[in-house]
């Protein structure tokens, strides 16, 4: 684990529990007008993105009765949910397995929707795009926000202020 994890540990927990990060503003187009969004720090990392095309194959190792993810860890996460008293073993297994399928699915969808050019790396932006474009990943838009340059954000703030003034 990196030190970034330790320093934002509480922030992480908040993020998981309430799916909002500390300092963040939303960027979606049209529907509710225009709101600018960018997320500070939390999920930053490198931003490499070379692009290559290729076929996506189905993972076969996940099609067995066992799971790779530790059920004990999944249980910990489940128990952190309010109102949950107890969890039956079968339910825990199904949740763990479903999470593996989810990781697989999110990975493949994000990769497929990539820039369309030759692609040999899956980048954060691919995930953010998938979250925005697919309805099934809507619940992830808060934790996978698109990134914009600070100057663009500031500019859009100014524009908004101007709009309001002219009313």
């Amino acid at each position: 684990m990196t030190s970034a994890v330790e320093s934002s540990a509480r922030g992480r927990r908040t993020a998981l529990a309430s799916s909002t990060t500390g300092f963040k503003i939303d960027r979606t187009s049209a529907r509710a007008g225009r709101r600018a969004v960018f997320s500070l720090a939390r999920f930053s990392g490198n931003m490499s993105a070379n692009n290559a095309g290729g076929k996506v194959n189905v993972s076969h190792s996940l099609n067995n009765k066992n799971v790779s993810l530790p059920m004990s860890r999944v249980k910990l996460i489940m128990k952190s949910s309010p109102d949950v008293s107890s969890i039956n073993q079968d339910a825990l297994f199904v949740t763990t397995k479903a999470t593996e399928l989810f990781v697989q699915y999110l990975t493949q969808c994000s990769f497929k929707n990539g820039s369309g050019k030759e692609k040999n790396t899956l980048a954060y932006s691919d995930l953010a795009n998938a979250a925005e474009q697919s309805e099934i990943f809507q619940f992830l838009t808060d934790i996978l926000p698109k990134k914009i340059l600070a100057k663009d954000y500031l500019r859009s703030l100014e524009e908004r202020a101007e709009d309001e003034d002219s009313d």
């Binding site: 684990m1 540990a9 992480r12 927990r13 993020a15 998981l16 529990a17 799916s19 999920f43 930053s44 990392g45 490198n46 490499s48 993105a49 290729g54 194959n57 993972s59 190792s61 996940l62 067995n64 009765k65 066992n66 993810l69 530790p70 999944v74 996460i77 489940m78 952190s80 949910s81 109102d83 949950v84 008293s85 107890s86 969890i87 039956n88 073993q89 079968d90 339910a91 297994f93 199904v94 949740t95 397995k97 479903a98 999470t99 989810f102 990781v103 990975t107 493949q108 994000s110 040999n120 790396t121 899956l122 980048a123 954060y124 691919d126 995930l127 309805e135 099934i136 934790i143 996978l144």
Partner: protein, 148 residues
């Protein structure tokens, strides 16, 4: 056992493996993307749990069961997972049964041995008692496992 915030994440190595297996050979994943997928997976667990819990509460149950989780998947529009999950669950149940039978046998053998050493008579009565004790112990163990 104290719950550290880091523990609400899933282990990096396993997540990375699942990601790599889902992608064509030779494709890399950025560190940022890996981290984001891991976090997304944790959020997925929470979302699924919350959804499943609603189904359990509707049925006035306090314990989440597999059907609740399946219903949650459908609610979350992950119907594509239902079939593979059902199959995986069957396999899981079978392997659990196998384990249980094996451990029951071991338990009985242990107790028989202990009885023989203690030189107890009336073996038939004792055997009945052992079976009852086994069942009670199993139930207790199940409850312990589920509600820590």
């Amino acid at each position: 056992m104290a719950e550290r915030p880091e523990d609400l994440n899933l282990p990096n190595a396993v997540i990375t493996r699942i990601i790599k297996e889902a992608l064509p050979e030779g494709v890399n994943v950025s560190k940022e993307a890996r981290k984001a997928i891991s976090q997304a997976a944790s959020v997925f667990v929470l979302y699924a749990t919350s959804c499943a819990n609603n189904f359990a509460m509707k049925a006035k149950r306090k314990t989440l069961n597999a059907a609740d989780v399946m219903a949650a998947m459908e609610e979350m529009e992950f119907e594509r997972f239902l079939q593979p999950l059902k199959e995986a669950l069957e396999g899981f149940k079978k392997s659990q049964k196998g384990k249980k039978v094996a451990s029951e046998q071991k338990q009985r053998e242990k107790e028989k041995k202990a009885d023989a050493e203690n030189g107890k008579g009336k073996e038939e009565d004792n055997e009945d008692e052992e079976e009852r004790m086994d069942e009670e112990q199993e139930e207790e163990e199940d409850e312990e496992e589920v509600e820590n």
